[in-house]
């Protein structure tokens, strides 16, 4: 009886049905969309508006694209903020993704204490940046735990890792890769767990060793995971702020080595009291991230089905 009713309903008007579905659809997304419009899209629009004025704390004279041309000629921005951000992203993303994948593969084995290892490897991701940075600064001081261990191993390093121009950014890269690898591990672990075991059995029957199985079988099957993880970590890395702010003392030091685009935005807005200029930097960064994400999408194409 119900089937007949439904069939008749379907036959009556696909047009009506489509309209109803569309309205329901809009109804469902109304609240989240309203939120995004109010607290994300509108602020970005307002920030763009601010960027067209010589806006310090209060609205100043209209300058059109003046802030953007100023940014184009800003050597500190390009040679330090942009360069560091790109270098940081280029290193931290492969590191944290590779580390996350390695940990996931390990924890995916039929080993004992799996739950313990899963929790241990995820531990750094749980803590707040402020706490992690405090601990890291303490351990990486020139007479801290890390250098003490290195000295015992025969390698004498007496400098503060965050205090030297040449080691500050690499130290931040290592620190971030370490703390974010746990989240990447969980994403990959999930993907690994949904690969059916017959695949592995087939590879074993073919005589493939563990290493070849991984590269020829597992790795390609993780393509959807790779895409998701890469997009998310690239977007995050290009916006790095917390570590530079807490470690470099918000000046991007030592000698601009920890200056990133978002830190530069923040400093221009607050220390140099130029909301307009800072807004221009933010708009440019947003467009850049958007472009990079679109390129990633095009390069990877449509993700394959596992």
């Amino acid at each position: 009886m119900a089937v007949a009713v439904a069939k008749r309903r379907q036959a009556r008007g696909l047009g009506n049905e489509r309209l109803r579905e569309a309205l329901v659809g809009y109804g469902f997304i109304a609240l989240p969309l309203a939120f995004f419009l109010l607290f994300f899209i509108f602020p970005v629009g307002y920030a763009f508006y601010i960027s067209r004025y010589d806006w310090q704390i209060f609205k100043g004279p209209f300058v059109g694209w003046g802030n953007y041309t100023k940014l184009y000629h800003d050597t500190v921005f390009w040679t330090h903020a942009v360069r560091n951000t790109l270098v940081y992203t280029a290193f931290v993303v492969p590191l944290e993704v590779a580390l996350g994948l390695a940990l996931a593969v390990v924890v995916n084995q039929a080993i004992r204490f799996r739950t313990f290892f899963r929790a241990a490897f995820y531990f750094p991701s749980l803590a707040a940046s402020a706490a992690i940075v405090s601990i890291a600064t303490y351990i990486l001081a020139s007479d801290g735990l890390f250098n003490t261990i290195l000295n015992h191993l025969g390698y004498h390093h007496n400098n503060a890792w965050f205090g030297e121009q040449s080691t500050a950014l690499p130290s931040i890269i290592a620190l971030t890769a370490w703390t974010t690898s746990g989240t990447m591990m969980l994403f990959y672990l999930a993907a690994l767990q949904s690969i059916p075991t017959d695949v592995y059995e087939a590879a074993a029957i073919d005589g493939a060793g563990a290493w070849r199985t991984f590269w020829r079988v597992t790795f390609p099957l993780l393509k959807p995971a790779h895409f998701f993880v890469l997009v998310v970590s690239v977007i995050g890395a290009l916006q790095m702020f917390d570590q530079s702010f807490l470690i470099g003392g918000a000046s991007g030091g030592p000698n601009y080595s920890t200056m990133t685009v978002v830190l530069y935005l923040y400093n221009q807005s607050i220390k140099n009291i130029s909301f307009g200029y800072g807004a221009a930097i933010g708009v440019v960064l947003f467009l850049f991230i958007f472009t990079v994400t679109v390129i990633q999408r095009l390069l990877f194409g449509k993700p394959e089905v596992a």
Partner: protein, 323 residues
Amino acid sequence: MDTEQLPDVPPVAAIEQLAVEGEAAKGTPAAGTGIPGRERGERIRTAIAYVVLFSVAALFFIPFLWSVSTSFRTLADTVAGFSLLPRHWTLSGYHDALHTFSFGRYTLNSAIIAGAITVSNLFLASLGGYAFARLKFPGREVIFLLVLGTLMIPDQLRLVPIYLMLVNWIPGWVAHLGWHNASFVNRNGVIMIQLVSAANLFLMRQYFLTIPRDLEEAAKLDGAGYFKTYRKVMLPLAGPALAAVGILTFQGAWNGLFWPAILLQDKSQYTIPIGIANFHFAYQTLWPPLMAASVLAILPILVIFIVFQRYFVAGVAASGVKG
């Protein structure tokens, strides 16, 4: 990412089972097929592997063991040069963290903020995720791209507009509705600006895409409307994804520093990360209470993670990585 291609996925029930201890959950079957003589080699290799694993796990743990050790020291001990264990064990760090700086209150505030944001995200992200996954409406792809785009907007760019909104514009608007002297430069404001995240919505959408359509078809044939289908069929099946969103959101809100630092004016509303940041003074850092506070701050999330990690793994499995 593409709604047209539905991936080939094990049925939902199997996902539940996987979370518990299914075939795939056991991972790659151990190599070796019982050829004699290999056994001892296998055991040595396994032993070495475990040693390496424990060492790596130790590496991940050491900084926290270090902070636990520091939390039991006196301040003089922390500047006196390196020593593995505290020279004098003391609880003064914990006492300072809990009393001098009202840590109990900060924990309550963190819990309220994180809890409210998590519940709101669960509700709004699943609503939106379902719509983008299953309902057809004009402009769906474009609107979805717009939503994803919000992930690319740095908080620092939104700082001034949002502050102006919360201090001036929104109170102005609601005043017209009769609510005078509204203030959002407080805990309510922190919650209000984090009600839903595009990442969570994206996650829910991916998960809903992998649920076979037959169940919805069956519900439709039974005469269920869209919301009923959502509530009675999809949402219960989305348990793992909801757990995933719940853990990630709670953790993010619990550890968040940027918005609370800007918006929380009254000391009685401060959260734990602000409390931790407060142990840094211009000429001194009070390490013992700082570390004590950090240790206390991690415990709740750790508990939540351990309790939900099975669901979490299965949840993300079907959502984020299946395309």
